[in-house]
Structure formats: structure tokens, C-alpha cells
Amino acid sequence: MNHSATAVMDPRHPMPGMQVYNLKLGMWIFLLSEVMFFTSLIGSYIILRFAHPEHWTEPGVILNVSLTAVNTFLLICSSVTMVKAFAAIEQGDQKGLKLWLLATILIGASFVGIQFFEYTKLIHEGFVPNFAAYTAEGANLYGATFYLMTGFHGAHVTIGVLCLSFVLFRAMKGAYTSESYGGVEIIGLYWHFVDLVWIILFTIVYLL
């Protein structure tokens, strides 16, 4: 390809030699920082748990593992529906895109709903992050790290659901085509990342 130096520079024209479009590259880079953010939370959890194992109980004593296992399965399903939505628009299938996006949103929202239900129940049972409430049992680090990690993950899912809803709104207006589907692709990347983080969190918070 001959990059003619005399061609007028069109700001809308992608720079030559670009491998990945900006938005997608930017999302990948942003997700790297998200990895580091969750690393700081998970790393702190590991250090605190090794220093004070007496604060933790056996898996399943306080936390409801089976309910969360169902929730984990739901989130994995939503990654599948997200893949389906992306595959649909790649083929130019507008109806498929909308349907699969809607499915992803509904499953994502139910994940948040179940987590909210779980939190309410746990707090009702007295499992709170607050130190003062725990001086007797000495399990406050368990509660604090639990809410910290699952809470920030839940916030990520919530933001994902809101963004997906907006993508669906744009899809209804026909904003995406088989040539141009950047919004669908980057929200998909984000969604899969959030899903992956959950699988790690589920393992270390509920199962270990």
C-alpha cells in the first residue's frame, strides 16, 4: 500500500496500519486495569485470610453455596447468550441480536437480583462487615472481604446490565450492521471479563 503523503488528512479516516479499531483496543487496555483492581482486592483477601484463618468458617456454613452455584451457572449462560448476540450481528441478523441481547440483560439482572437476595438474608442473619457487630465471634474480616469482593463484582455486573440495555436500545434503532458492530463487541468483551472474574471469586470466596 502506498501511503501518499499528499493525501488530505481526513480525521474520520482510520490511521494506516491499524490492526484493531481504537474502541476495541481501548477496551482491552481498560480491562487490564480492571485485572489489577481485582488483584488488589483478591490479594488483600489472601493476605488477611492467611494471617487470620480463625475469622473464616468452613465453606457452606455461613454462605449458601448451592444458591450461588446456581447464580454462577446463570452468569456463564449469559456469556453464551452474549456470544450468540455477537454472532448474530456478524451475520447481520438484527432480530437475533436483539433477542440474544435481551436474554443476556435478563440473566444478568437476575444474577444481581439473586445476589441482592443473598445479601439481605446474610445481613439478616448477622453476617455484616462491621467490626463492632463481631467482637464476640471475631469473624469481621470474613464479612468485610466477602462484601468487598462480591460487592465490587456486583457493581460491575450492574454497570454491564445498564450498558447492555443501552446497546439494545441502539440495536432497536438499527445502529449496528454486519460491517459495524463495535458497541456490541466491546460490551461483550467487558461482559466476558466480568464473568471470568466471578468464576475466580466464586472459587476462592465460596469453595475454598
Binding site: 480525521p11 484493531v20 483496543l25 486495569s33 472481604t145
Partner: protein, 611 residues
């Protein structure tokens, strides 16, 4: 901004996406042009004014601190304006002194040096040096600036709340920082945390933008090893910011929860781990140290090569040294914690990694000297600042070797020796690098030359007073004076050092006062300076091929790059510079070999300022 708007604006960000619109094609209202601008050059200037404001604030805080240290217990001139909770009758209280120490460090690091290097030069130089029309995400760029404004406002507001501003040091070690019970500062400490979380978001959005731009928006021919060193350094800095800031954000959130909702992550009374905070803080903090110096190294490399009219010595080694710093910077954080009670074996391994990271800095220093060797050195103001960077960085680097030896660090840790060391790197290094950058690129930013005579006076006075302030601090440290003491005279063995403290304080006032020359020169030149040509320094990089200041969209024609950025005094051309976009002799305008070799158009030298 709602999430929907955020996604919508994100989608419109990408020029390759259908939602993208470009505002440069039509006239913009005043607000869109100067306030909510998406032009990277305007955002660079906005960051410049914001961070220079905070530089003044940080300097004023330092001045008050030095008053107390130079003239302990005497009323601060004009100190009557402070309420009795800070300085009754102008006499600074210990709790106010702790706030001054904390806020001086915080503001200088997060709101002055970091935005000056990354916000100003990252925005200004990355697109221009790469030959790009703008950043990859112009609106995200604007968001980055306004987040910094919000963060700065919150930080400044903390002075006004009950209990005053944060007073647990810029490192805010837990558990001192976890409760007002220990410091008397409640809301101020929380605002400190909130402000830094917001500032982190600002830095992150900037970093995503810079990295994407460098990877994706290079002009044809701008291969990785033709990228000018300032842009290389900013690219590596952006990667460090991207990976380090979220770690700090995680820690800040946990500390905020300890304060607000009764968690005990860092509070030993609830089985929390105070050292966990230190590990998080310094795991972020050491990459942060390099965030604060790498861009200055890039700027200085550019100025040295250009004003010595000689190719940078060892371009590849310069890049590789920065890359290795970016890797090694992650495994040295423990050297800030030698005396914190960590396992002594762990201390030894941090000592080894620490001395290894000294090597890339040594390589860079020798390469700068190599660049000057057999050069044709022009002593303009930017060059003076750049040379002063090199000589001060040598001192800062050498004094670091003392603390890298943990046995010697036992004595020197938390003394004025550390204060001297960090200021030789941050002021002698970063700030002289910033002055070099501002004076060098001022014509590109504002279209006018900066006053050269006043610039030189400012340089020499700053250089002299700076050394009078910070060099004696080494001696104070060796005599054992601890940092962050409200009144060292409490200790009998420190009383003989009061004379030196007073000397340092007077020098510090003169140093601060000297900066008014810079401020005057800056604003005077902005409106009254000589009109700047496109390339006043006869430089090779792409930003000098467009008018000063460059128009929206930067390049009328997409430039093609034929060579590296430091081809000064090349035998191929008569002039002593050879711009990156100048076609080589025997090449047609399209970059293809012409049928008959014709002599290449030699660049026309333009008058050089200050000669």
C-alpha cells in the same frame, strides 16, 4: 453523566465507528473551544494551568512548613488569616503542621508533577509526535481533565472542613489514617481518600487514551524505533499508570471503608493488618516514582539531542532502559519498608532488586553525557534546565545508593537524608525536566517565544536556591534529624542544627519567590512574546513541521516518516538537522524512488532563539 450517555459517547469516540462525529470541521462555540474542548492541545493547556496552580499551592504549603522549621514558634507573617484551629495568632499548631506536610506531598505528587508531566506533555506531544490528528478518544480525554478538576476541588475543600486537612502523611500509613481518634482529622482524611480515588480515575482514562493512541495512531513510517523519546517515555508511563493506579484505588477504598463503615482491613484492633496498607501503597508507590521521572527523562533526552545538535547516544539503549525500569519497578517496593518489620531475608531480596534497578538509570545518565560529547551545544533556557536535570539526577541517583544498602538505611530511613534524596529526584529531576519541557514547547503551545533573558535569570536563581535548600538536608539527615518533626528542637541533639534549618528556610523563601519570574515571563510571553516560527529550535520531530500553534486536526497532510527522530548533523544534508518527514534524496514526494536521482531539498535553517 448517565451510563447510557457514557456508552453513547464512548461509541462516538472511535473515528472508525459510524457514531463518530468530528467537531473540527465547523466553528465551535467559546465553551466547546476553550472549556469543554476535545482538542488534545487545548486539554494540554488546561492541564498546564491547573497543575501550575497546584504547583503554587504546594509551594505555599512548603513555605509555611519551612517557616515553622526555620523560625519555630514565631508567628507566620500574614498568618493571622488562619483560624485558631490552624494557627492562633499566626503560630502554626502541630496538627496544622502535619496537615501542611501531608498536603504538600499529596498536592505536589498527584496534582502538580503528575499532571504536569503526563497531563500536559502526554496530551500535547503524543498525537503531534506520532503524526496523528488527535488522541484516539478525544471525549474521554476531556473527561480525564474534568475529573482532575473535581478531584482537585475536593482536595482543596478538605482544608475548610472541621478538623482540617489530612494529617497522616502523604503515605497515610494505617492505623494512623484509619480514624480521627489518632489524628483529630475526620472528614479531611475521608475527602483526601475520595479525591485520590477520583484523581485515579482521571489518570486511568488518560492512560487508556495514551496507550491506544501510541499503538494505533502512528503516521505511516512511524515504526516503534522511530518514535521520539518523550512519546516513548509517556507510553511506558501510561502503562505503569494503567497497572499501578487500580492497586492504589483498591487500597484507598478499603481505607475509606475502615473509616466509614467499620471494617478493619488495616486496623489491628479488629485483626486487620497495618502492613497490608504499606504493601499496597508501595506496590503502587514504586511504579509511581517512575511515573514521576520517566516523562522528564524523555523530555530531557529530546532537548539535549536537539540543542547539542547531535543524535541521542544509544537510542535503543534509552528505550530498553525505560522498558526494563517498567518491569523492575514492580519488584522493588519493599525497599520503602526495610525498617517496618518485614522478614530480614525478604529485605535482602528487595535490596538485590533495588540495586539492579539503579543500572538502567545509570545507563541513561551515561548516554546523556555521551550525547553531549562532541556536540555543538546551544545554551538556551530549555537546554539549561535539561542540563540541570542531568546534574541533579546524578546527585539524586547517587544518594539513593545509601538507602539501597539496608544496613545504612537503618540509620538514614525517615531522616532528612531521604527528604534531600527525594527532592533531588522530584525537584532537581522532574521539575527541571518540566521547566525544560515548558520552555521548549511553549512556542508550539502558544505560538510565541518565551522571553529568553528572563528565562535564563529564572533558571540560574532557581538552580542556586534549589541547591541551597536541598543540599544541606543531606547533612541534617546524617546528623540524625528525623522527617516530619514539628519542632526538632524538642530533641537536645538536634538543637545545634537550628541554624542550618533557618538557612534552608530562607533559601526556600527565595526559591519560591524566584518562581514569580517564571510566572511573569510565562504570562508576558503568552501575550507579548515574539511570534514563533513553526520550527524555532530546528528540531526533527513532527510537531515542528506544523504551524505554531498547530490547527485543529494538526496535520493538513498526513505526514510520512522516513527516519528516526534524532538525525542531527547528518552528513546526508547540509543543515544540521533532518526532519523525520523530509523525503530522502532520490525519493519522489510520494516516498517512491524517483526515476532520476535529484539532490534532496535541504531543510532551510530558521533563526534559532537565544543565539
Amino acid at each position: 453523566m448517565s451510563t447510557a450517555q457514557l456508552v453513547s459517547s464512548l461509541e462516538k469516540e472511535d473515528r472508525t465507528q459510524p457514531g463518530y462525529t468530528d467537531e473540527g470541521l465547523h466553528e465551535l462555540s467559546f465553551i466547546r473551544k476553550y472549556v469543554f474542548s476535545t482538542d488534545h492541545k487545548t486539554i494540554a493547556k488546561q492541564f498546564l494551568f491547573l497543575s501550575l496552580f497546584f504547583l503554587v499551592v504546594g509551594g505555599a504549603l512548603a513555605g509555611m512548613m519551612r517557616w515553622q522549621l526555620g523560625f519555630p514558634g514565631q508567628p507566620l507573617p500574614g498568618g493571622g488569616v488562619f483560624p485558631d484551629t490552624m494557627a492562633p495568632g499566626g503560630i502554626i499548631l502541630p496538627e496544622f503542621y502535619n496537615s501542611l506536610v501531608t498536603m504538600h506531598g499529596t498536592i505536589m505528587i498527584f496534582f502538580a508533577i503528575m499532571p504536569l508531566l503526563v497531563g500536559v506533555f502526554g496530551n500535547l506531544l503524543i498525537p503531534l509526535q506520532l503524526g496523528a490528528p488527535d488522541m484516539a478518544f478525544p471525549r474521554l480525554n476531556m473527561a480525564s481533565f474534568w475529573l482532575a478538576v473535581v478531584a482537585g476541588t475536593v482536595m482543596m475543600a478538605s482544608f475548610l472542613v472541621e478538623g482540617g486537612a489530612a494529617g497522616a502523611g502523604w503515605t497515610s500509613y494505617a492505623p494512623l489514617s484509619t480514624s480521627g481518634e489518632w489524628t483529630g482529622v475526620y472528614l479531611g482524611q475521608q475527602l483526601w481518600l475520595v479525591s485520590l480515588i477520583i484523581m485515579g480515575a482521571s489518570s486511568l482514562t488518560g492512560a487508556v487514551n495514551y496507550i491506544t493512541t501510541v499503538i494505533n495512531m502512528r503516521a505511516p513510517g512511524m515504526t516503534w524505533f522511530r518514535i521520539p523519546l518523550p512519546t516513548w517515555s509517556l507510553f511506558i508511563t501510561a502503562i505503569l499508570i494503567l497497572l499501578a493506579i487500580p492497586i492504589l484505588t483498591g487500597g484507598l477504598i478499603m481505607l475509606l471503608f475502615d473509616q466509614l463503615i467499620g471494617t478493619t482491613f488495616f486496623i489491628p484492633a479488629g485483626s486487620g493488618e497495618p502492613l497490608l496498607w504499606q504493601h499496597i501503597f508501595w506496590f503502587f508507590g514504586h511504579p509511581e516514582v517512575y511515573i514521576l521521572i520517566l516523562p522528564a527523562m524523555g523530555i530531557v533526552s529530546e532537548v539535549l539531542s536537539c540543542r547539542a545538535r547531535k543524535p541521542i547516544f544509544g537510542y535503543h539503549a534509552m528505550v530498553l532502559a525505560m522498558v526494563s525500569i517498567a518491569f523492575l519497578g514492580w519488584v522493588v517496593w519493599g525497599h520503602h519498608m526495610f525498617q517496618s518489620g518485614m522478614n530480614p531475608m525478604l529485605g535482602t531480596s528487595f535490596m538485590i532488586s533495588t540495586v539492579v534497578i539503579a543500572v538502567p538509570s545509570a545507563i541513561k545518565t551515561f548516554n546523556w553525557l555521551g550525547t553531549l560529547w562532541r556536540g555543538d551545544i546551544h545554551f538556551d533556557t530549555p537546554m539549561l534546565h535539561a542540563l540541570s536535570f542531568v546534574s541533579m539526577f546524578i546527585i539524586g541517583g547517587l544518594s539513593g545508593i545509601f538507602m539501597a544498602a539496608p544496613a545504612v538505611d537503618i540509620y538514614l530511613h525517615d531522616t532528612y537524608f531521604i527528604v534531600a534524596h527525594l527532592h533531588y529526584v522530584l525537584f532537581g529531576g522532574s521539575l527541571f525536566g518540566i521547566f525544560a519541557g515548558i520552555t521548549f514547547w511553549f512556542p508550539k503551545m502558544f505560538g510565541r517565544m518565551m522571553g529568553e533573558g528572563l528565562g535564563k535569570v529564572h533558571f540560574w536563581l532557581t538552580f542556586i536556591f534549589y541547591n541551597l535548600v536541598f543540599f544541606p538536608m543531606h547533612n541534617l539527615g546524617i546528623q540524625g534529624m528525623m522527617r516530619r518533626l514539628y519542632d526538632p528542637n524538642e530533641y537536645e541533639f538536634l538543637q545545634p542544627l537550628q541554624e542550618m534549618s533557618t538557612f534552608i528556610s530562607i533559601s526556600a523563601f527565595l526559591l519560591v519567590g524566584t518562581q514569580s519570574l517564571f510566572a511573569f515571563n510565562f504570562f508576558w510571553s503568552m501575550f507579548r512574546g515574539r511570534q514563533a516560527p513553526a520550527n524555532p529550535w530546528n528540531s526533527n520531530t513532527l510537531e515542528w513541521t506544523v504551524p505554531s500553534p498547530p490547527p485543529h486536526g494538526n496535520f493538513a497532510v498526513m505526514p510520512t516518516v522516513y527516519r528516526g527522530p534524532y538525525e542531527y548533523s547528518s552528513p546526508e544534508v547540509d543543515a544540521d538537522f533532518y526532519p523525520q518527514d523530509r523525503p530522502p534524496p532520490g525519493a519522489g514526494p510520494g516516498g517512491q524512488a524517483a526515476p532520476e536521482p535529484t539532490p534532496g531539498p535541504a531543510p532551510t535553517p530558521e533563526p534559532v532563539a537565544g543565539d
